[in-house]
Symmetry: C2
Subunit: 320 residues, 2 copies
């Protein structure tokens, strides 16, 4: 079963308004934004990844979903698997603790299970946030909105590529893969103004397509506008192929917001050092996603990002 | 790492009052009772179990935690793994749907991941309930309280034993293992009166010991008072060995409540057909757990129930 098929089946009974049609990354239940992301060894993290970074990442990817809805962290419930390697387990929990402490997320409960010997580790977290004055969905974008991206993209995918070539690789790109940073403050400041917003975790192009589709608009992305880090450019360059790699790599935990054209987010006093860049716009031109570079159309790549298929999980890549 | 070690580590930072010291089955967050239970193939369910029953069980074991706190189901978030067997996945979701519909639990969100080929299936659910006027913990029992058990015990363990002998076994006991029934209404009616309450999932004797320890009391259990079903007695008899098997088997999803001695729960108009039985009492005699039968002390069995160890998950049994 593919993720799309699972969602279709779930929508038949997840009809409560809090579910928002399962069209969003999070539920909105009585003023609380609720999300759950699981990560599995060999799918979302590498067996060789330091245990502490795995714990950090579990918390961070969930906080990124809260950031995408402009919510403030309030509580979390951990689904923990324990194994025979106590040192690993201890380091994992230290990573969970560090991320919870860094972002003010109180851990309030959970469950501990042991898996059969040799099974890949699987961890889950339910994160609960307090909704702000508005909780933007994916689906509220309007023709004429500008698409803004908070954070940079491609670093994590480049880091993963380095690790797949050499499991001992290190550096900024590898750190981006292992220790993503949720854009909580920017999310909270943008949410009241955003017609649509979501975190970018499965690949910018795929997530932009989802936002556009949910909004009934066409997203046009200017590949030349994608924010690439110095470390990324040093590793991959900044040509069209590199930009398509960055736009489809996934695991970025950036934010994508559709803002009215008359709003300049630079006027919002985002935290200093926040990278925010206009990367395109929404229109009503027909189609869902269009790419341009140097003013000319660019054909969509075959794969826009990471979709979750029940029978294709064996390639390692980050996707939540 | 054992579950006890994991809890000890988590308590170092799960210091928010909502966590209740991680000494309970559920958190209490702003009027909401929040719990998470995961189930794994080969640990909490058998590979041969019908997929629909696995989905049912995932929901039911979480609702049982809400029942133990007297909460009313309000929302759930599903952690779903999908595989290449779409028929299995579809049947699993149908089981989830049936349990949600049966107990009025709205599914409002979740996450879908694919696991590496050959990995055991793992599912999780975060269940959110509305707290009643009182949310009893494990730790409020007082000397002189009577211990009452809602539901019967041993059926599920007897069903599992049948299945381990013959994967095609069927009947009431197997049904109890596969499709537990959360005692939601009884839990809601008892909670305002209970000094301590919890659901019995890891084995009555182990869970009674936990309640007694948290309450700083001695629990005395009269093995002759254990409620055994006709089907259980037909399969296992009702002698001391059978009673110890029932008391340690686990996966019962019964409720254990410490009620003041002057309260007769039979006066509470529990739903017709509810089995409730006084099985012992709390005292201040020293020690944590004592067993009696025919008025005489019975030595504690070596194992009181299922504890979760990181290195002993390969025996299949239900435990959440």
């Amino acid at each position: 079963m593919t993720e799309a098929e699972a969602l279709e089946r779930l929508r038949k009974f997840a009809t409560d308004p809090a579910a928002r049609g399962l069209a969003d990354d999070a539920a909105l239940f009585e003023g609380l934004v609720i999300t759950h992301d699981s990560i599995a060894e060999g799918v979302h993290f590498l067996s060789e990844d330091p245990a502490g970074s795995v714990g950090w990442k579990l918390v961070a990817v969930n906080l990124s979903d809260l950031a995408g809805k402009g919510a403030t962290p309030a509580a979390a419930v951990l689904s923990l698997t324990i194994g025979s390697d106590s040192i690993w387990d201890e380091a994992f929990l230290t990573g969970v603790e560090a991320a919870c402490a860094s972002y003010g997320l109180p851990l309030i409960g959970g469950d501990t299970i042991a898996l059969p010997d040799g099974a890949p580790r699987v961890f889950g977290l339910t994160a609960i946030g307090r909704a702000g004055p508005r909780t933007p969905s994916r689906g509220g974008g309007k023709p004429g909105d500008q698409l803004w991206l908070v954070g940079s993209i491609g670093d994590s995918a480049a880091g993963l590529a380095l690790l797949l070539g050499d499991r001992k690789a290190a550096g900024l790109l590898v750190d981006s893969y292992r220790r993503p940073v949720p854009q909580l403050i920017a999310g909270r400041m943008l949410a009241p103004h955003a017609n649509a917003m979501m975190d970018v975790s499965d690949g910018l192009l795929l997530d932009a397509q989802r936002l556009a589709e949910a909004s009934g608009c066409t997203a046009t992305i200017d590949l030349d506008g994608l924010p690439l880090s110095k470390a990324f450019v040093a590793e991959r360059g900044n040509g069209l192929a590199a930009r398509l790699f960055a736009g489809t790599g996934g695991d970025d935990y950036a934010l994508l917001a559709a803002l009215p054209a008359d709003l300049d987010p630079l006027s919002l006093s985002l935290p200093s050092g926040t990278s925010i860049r206009c990367i395109g716009s929404l229109g009503a031109d027909g189609g869902i996603l269009r790419l341009v570079s140097k003013g000319k159309p660019v054909a969509l790549p075959e794969t826009l990002g990471h979709e979750h298929h029940g029978n294709s999980a064996s390639t390692v890549a980050g996707r939540t």
